[in-house]
Symmetry: C2
Subunit: 506 residues, 2 copies
């Protein structure tokens, strides 16, 4: 079949790419649609790349999309940082929105896409634009995501989302919350609702303009037949789900290759102490010098060899046991038996590679869902979380020594690893199966809950409850009135009898 | 591993049996625990049968458990029939409860079970006794069920169950309901709650006595690690589910054998018109004569050969095209290309065999979830439902001719069949995988939602909402008071100024 792929740049693309490789191996043709300016999405032999022009330059892109990571290393007042992050988010979302307008109004491109009669659209709905496009082309759609902010993933699937035990994004609650944590869990989404609206409303109006009728974000998202979540219930807390949700967490672990000689040599040279892998992900290229030196200091105090993926300036106090590399085969290194620990920003890909390979973690979450991922792994005893701003060199040194020497971390992560890898179907095969399913059956209408056709008050049965209450109150009122009337009647009679009695006795 | 199996008699056992056969083939040992007196559960070479004595005879069993099916063919006032069914249900539940007391107080047997150190209990929780036993032996447990009345399956898994689009048992609503149907959907469970309590409370008190503390039915059921539901979303309406729910609908279709010569001969003799399979399931042995003759009359009016599984007296007007058999290989016959239609009571096993083999149905639901199953298949265009009491011979004749000659029924059931059979793992393999998973990991704690540890008002955040309301009201009250005070203050001043002004002007 023909697959139209509208990816999101960065690490999201790295795992989607594996699905395209497998789809190609099974005889399908994928066309990847992306702006000319991007970070990772380059031509490869297992898909056709179609780019479209947008009015920002590579520099603008780097500044808006990559520039923000500096912020996370700066110590400043919480509120100031909050507003600076919001300003950056807003910038980023304007950039994406502008490129969306240019895509959807690119008539030649839209005509070409329509003419190609794709069998399915595969996209990450964090890019709401792609979801609008899929609905506009009315092609059966498969979503491929970790999550969407503002619980739009649960609204889009009509999935119950009780706040009493499901921690909301950014709260760093676990699924067992105290009373005040549950209050915080309920208030956070309210506080963020303004930002959520600002983030999603532009796409709703774009869609409403395209469809010439009122279209909400939930309408856009509910078009998808199947949602492939890069999660599972080893990493995430168990919660209600819907039948068209498929869990493919750990799909990024599938891609294994033998280590190059360079890295084999590092490991062999590390002796009995083995190695530690250190990477803050593809989005963090520069750490402020002072912080980098504190980190380098701590790394120098452990006997393991540290492979540190870092493109910034080399800290002057870098110890001999620490090797800086521009890039490293993270998943393959974590799969080596000599790997003792993984220092990570707790992005979902990194955490899954840690789980797949059973390597305990020291986590320095920076932004987005990373704090929540770190909290979950800490709750499950698979690692230690450090606040990258406040941590001292000593904190990092202690944390590293703890996860390497305290056997409980290794046992916990190995238990999670064995639970995670014990599944009837591998994530990559499951993802490809459902893309093919949607192609074969032109969607999955039998998995679409009737809840999509209810208003919010019908969904919560408020109209039925109101009606029943009205009936009960009416019945109660009539009963009361009858009793009162009967009572008065009886009382009236007694009254007359008494009067008659009185007049007789006087 | 060692598997303790506590089955429910009747058709439930027939599909569980296939799982035991496969577990045995993979090297596991199953011990089946059942009362001496039962219908289907006999010694076989792929499990060990352990029976325990109970104080009712085979005759008592037949009378209480099988006797009730007569009731469904008798025409009488709805209320009279309702109360007779309740009386029978009560009888049946007393019989099961008495045998449960005898099982749980059979100390020698309990000691033996404890000593055998089973790795997992596999049971059907409709038999609440087995769920109590599993919790009492504190062995990791896998439930194998179609459903449990009174929504105990959704309560036991802490699974949201919105009544706005999920039809309740016995309502014969579809998932798209009118306002009044939604009112009915909300009222039915309330009306049945007394019966539900009567059905489940005895087991809660039995468990409380065993554990020497208050144990509710939900506590008993929440002990299970994984729930294997004999359902899927081709047969059932899509709805919220939980991660420890696995859907193995159609597991009974796996068991295929070539047809015997006898049945091959019937089919070959049927010519181009093919055959119709007719069975009202293992529980219905006798149909009132008048009704049987009406049915026989209708069957004689179609050109197909009818294979009718019926152990009752032979209707005198049986036509030549109708062959009575004591037993028939239902699934294998439905799998034959010459089979045109299936007359069934719409039990879930029969409906799945119809879906698996793509054979349209004429449905005569009798009791339990059969009416709801029939409604679902009718909504999906896969068959016609008849009320067995009110239907005339002509109704049956027309229904048969419709499903055989109107191509839409065949197209719809074939579409359902292709959706149903398009899955990454076969139901039998999936069921065995999860039994083995629970043995390997001593349960599935990572799939247990934290909701189990919340009270009902915490689950619905009523305490948090109450607290926030109190805070808002307090703030509003204080603000109001301040404004009122400020207002009075300002007014007070103006008042004094006016007075001073007045005294000057007079």
């Amino acid at each position: 079949g023909k697959v139209l792929v509208v990816p999101i740049d960065g690490s999201h693309w790295l795992s989607m790419r594996e699905v395209l490789r497998e789809l190609h191996a099974r005889g399908h043709q994928a066309v990847v649609l992306t702006p000319e300016v991007n970070m990772h999405i380059k031509e490869e032999n297992f898909f056709t790349l179609t780019t479209y022009a947008i009015s920002w330059t590579q520099d603008e892109f780097d500044r808006h999309v990559l520039g923000h990571t500096q912020l996370y290393f700066e110590t400043e007042h919480f509120l100031k940082k909050f507003f600076r992050s919001m300003a950056m988010l807003n910038n980023m979302s304007l950039v994406y929105h502008r490129s969306c307008v240019e895509l959807l109004h690119n008539e030649a491109l839209i005509r070409h896409l329509n003419a190609t009669s794709f069998d399915v659209v595969l996209t990450d709905p964090v890019n709401l634009c792609a979801a609008v496009l899929a609905k506009y082309l009315s092609i059966p759609t498969v979503f491929f995501l970790r999550n969407i902010p503002c619980d739009l993933d649960f609204k889009g699937t009509q999935c119950p989302n009780p706040s009493s035990y499901i921690p909301r994004l950014l709260t760093t609650n676990s699924d067992h919350m105290t009373f005040m944590q549950r209050v915080k869990n309920m208030l956070y989404p309210l506080a963020l609702s303004y930002i959520c609206h600002a983030f999603s409303a532009p796409y709703a109006s774009l869609a409403s303009e395209l469809f010439q009728r009122e279209v909400s974000v939930v309408d856009i998202l509910s078009h998808a037949s199947v949602w492939l979540f890069r999660g599972d219930f080893v990493m995430d807390y168990p919660r209600p789900i819907m039948p068209n949700m498929v869990f493919i967490g750990g799909i990024n672990c599938a891609n294994r290759k033998p280590l190059s000689q360079e890295f084999e040599a590092y490991i062999n040279a590390s002796g009995e102490h083995g190695i530690v892998v250190f990477s803050l992900g593809s989005m963090v290229s520069e750490i402020p010098e002072k912080k980098a030196m504190a980190i380098a200091d701590a790394l120098g105090k452990i006997p393991q060899t540290v492979l540190w993926r870092y493109t910034g300036t080399r800290p002057s106090n870098l110890a001999n046991n620490t090797i800086l590399v521009k890039w490293l085969p993270q998943n393959d290194l974590l799969g080596h038996p000599m790997t003792r620990a993984f220092i990570t920003h707790a992005g979902s890909h990194g955490v899954y590679e840690s789980i797949c390979n059973g390597v305990p973690m020291v986590m320095m979450p920076l932004f987005g869902d990373q704090m929540d991922n770190a909290k979950r792994m800490e709750t499950k005893g698979a690692g230690v979380t450090l606040n990258v701003l406040e941590m001292t060199s000593e904190d990092l040194e202690n944390a590293l020594k703890a996860v390497i020497n305290d056997k409980s971390y290794k046992e916990n992560i190995m238990r999670l690893s064995s639970l995670h890898k014990d599944r009837p179907v591998e994530p990559l095969d499951l993802a490809v199966f459902w893309v093919e399913f949607v192609m074969r059956h032109k969607g999955a209408p039998h998995l679409r809950p009737a809840a999509h056709d209810l208003t919010w008050y019908q969904y919560h049965s408020l109209d039925v409850i109101g009606f029943l209450l009205a009936v009960v109150l009416t019945v109660a009122f009539i009963t009361f009135k009858c009793c009162a009337y009967g009572y008065r009647k009886c009382l009236g009679k007694k009254g007359r009898v008494k009067k008659a009695h009185k007049s007789k006795t006087h």
